[in-house]
Amino acid sequence: MRIAIERRPYDSNLMKYLSPVLAIVLTLISGGLIFMIQGQDPWAGLYTFFILPVSDSYGWSELGVKAAPVLLCAMGLSVCYRANIWNIGAEGQLLMGALIGSWAALSWMDSSSSWVLPAVLACGAIGGLLWALIPAVLKNHFNTNEILTSIMLNYIALNLLLLAVHGPLKDPHGFNFPESALFTDAVTLPIIMEGTRLHLGLILGLFAVATLWVVMARTFLGFQLKVIGLDASAGHFAGYQQRRLVYFSLLLCGALAGLAGISEVTGPIGQLVPSVSPGYGYAAIIVAFLGRLHPVGILLASLLMALVYMGGEMGQIDLGLPLALGSLFQGMLLFYLLACDFLISYRLRIQPSVKPMAFPDTSTGVSQ
C-alpha cells in the first residue's frame, strides 16, 4: 500500500475552514501530552487551561479584556496580509501607541474637558500610525523589505518605551520605580459593564471588525488590496496605485495597533509600565492566520488567543505549570495550522501497492 500526495484540481473550500479547527484539535492533543509529561492528569490540565478561566461570568468578561488588544492588532494585520504585505511590526506599533498616548495622557490628565480622552486615544493611534509609516516609506520609496524593518522597529520601540519609563515619563513620586504616574479618571477608558474590567477598547475592536468587513468585502479599496495581494503585477496592469495601497494597509494597521496600546494603558493597566504587552502584537499574527484573514474568523481566533493567555495564568496558579506554556501553545497552533493548510491544495490518497503504473506518475508520491 502506498500513500500518494496529489494536487487537488481546485483548492478545497471545506479544508480552508476546517484547517484551523484541525489545528486547534491537534494543539489540544499535544497539550494533553505535555500535561502528561508534566505529571498532570491531561483532562484536568486541559480543563484548567481552557474551561476553568471562563467558568463564570467574570471570566468571560476577562476574556473580552484580553481579546481586545489582540483583536485590534490582528484586524490591522489581516489587511496587510491580504495585500501580501508582511508587517510583523504590530508589537512595536502597539508599544509606540502606548508610549505617545501615555505622554499625551500625562500632559493633559489634570484637564476636566470631555475631549481629553478622545484626544489621548487619537494620540495613541497616531503614535502607532507614525511607527508604521517608517516601514511603509522604506518599502515604497527605497524598496526595503518590510519584514526586517518592521521587526527591528519592534525592538527599537521597546527600548524607547524603557527609556521613557526610566526617564521623562517616570512618576516623580513613584519611589524610583520605572513606571509613570497613575492616570486620572479623565484619561481612563470607561468601563462598559459594571463590576468587570471590560472597557471601551473591546467596542473599538468590534467596530474595527464591522468596518473592515464592509471595506474588504464591499468596496473597491478592499478589492484592490486583495488583487495586489494575489498578484502584484495584475494590480499594476489594472492601474492600481500600489504605493497608496501599501500606505493604506500599513498605516491602518499601525493606527489600530496604536489604539490597542493606548487602550491597554488607559484601560486595564492604568499607567505606563515597561510590560505593556505580553507579546500581543506577535499573538495577533497567529490570530490573523488562524482567523483566515476574515473579520469574523479573527474575532473568534482572538477570543481563543485570549483564552490561551488566561489558561496560561490559571495553569500557573492552580497547577504550578510554567507560564510559558501559553506561548508554547500559541506557537504550536500556528505550526499545526500551516501543516493542515497543506490539505487545502493537496490530498492524500491511499493506493493499492501492486497496481502497475500505465502512465508517468505526475503526483509527488512518497511510498510508505
Binding site: L138, I147, H166, A324, L325, G331, L334, L338
Partner: protein, 308 residues
Amino acid sequence: MDIELLTNILFAMVRTGTPLLLVALGELVCEKSGVLNLGQEGMMLMGAVVGFIAALTTGNLMLGVMMGIMAGMAMACLFGVLAIQLRANQVATGLALTIFGAGLSAYIGTDYVGQGLSGFQPFIVPLLSDIPVLGKVLFSQDALVYLSFIICIVLWLFFKFSRPGLMIKAIGESPYSATAVGLPVIPARWIALLFGGAMAGMGGAYLSLAYTPLWAEGMTAGRGWIGLALVVFASWKVERVLLGAWLFGLASIMHLVLQGMGASISSNLLATLPYLATIVVLVLLSSNQSRSRMLAPMSLGKPYHPAG
C-alpha cells in the same frame, strides 16, 4: 583614545559579533540553496536553552554546544517538513518557527532562569597572542570564536572552489534547471537547511555558554533577525558576512566606546543602535532595485514543486 582601550573594544567587538557571524553564515548557506528561513531567532533560542541545560546538568561545555547544535537542527527539521516537503509559504513557516521557538525555549527553560555556570574561558594561542593589538583581539578568545573563523574560511573555500558549493548555488538560482541536469534539489536544500539550523543552534549556545553564561527568556534579543539582515548586507558573500558581523558587533557595544570617550547617553537609546544600523543598512542596499535583484539567489523563498 589609548591603544589599550582600542584593543579592548576590538576584543569585545569580535566576541559580540561571533553569535551574529555563526547564525548569518548558516542562513547564508540556506539562502544560497533557495530556502529563506526566517526562523533563525527561534532556532537560536532553542540552541541557547538546550545548550545551557545540557552543559549545566553534565558540566561539559562542549556537550552543551553539541546539544545546542542538535536543537537547532531539530527546529530546522520542522521547517523542512513544512516548507520543503509540504511546500508551505516559507515566510509564514519561518515566522511560525520563531514564535514556536520562543514559546518552547521559554517553557523548557523555566526552571533554569537565574542559574549560572562558568562558561567558555579564553584560550590564549601561544606566540600569535603576543602580536600587539591583534594578538588580544583575534588570538585570546574562546574556542567557539576560533571555530567561527575556521567555518568562515571553510565556507569561503567551499563556495569558491568546490563542486558541491557550485551545486548549491545552481540549485538556489534555478531549481528546475538544476533538476534537468540531474542535481538533487530536495536533498541539497535539506542539507543546507540543516546546516543553517546547526549554525543557529551554535550561535544560541555561544550566547548561553560563552557570551553571558546563563539562560534568560528571549535572550537572543533579535540577533537571529539581525543575522538575516546581515546576509542581505553581505550580498550573499561569506567574507562580507564576517565583516558585517563584526561591524554589527561594534554597533552593539557602542556604549563601551562612548563611555571610553567620556560621553553619557542613555543605555536604552544606545541599545537601539544595532537595530537602527540594520534598518539603515537594509535601506542603503535595497534602494538600488536592480542591484539587489541581481545579488539574491533567484529562487529565494519560492517553493519547489518537482514535476508539477
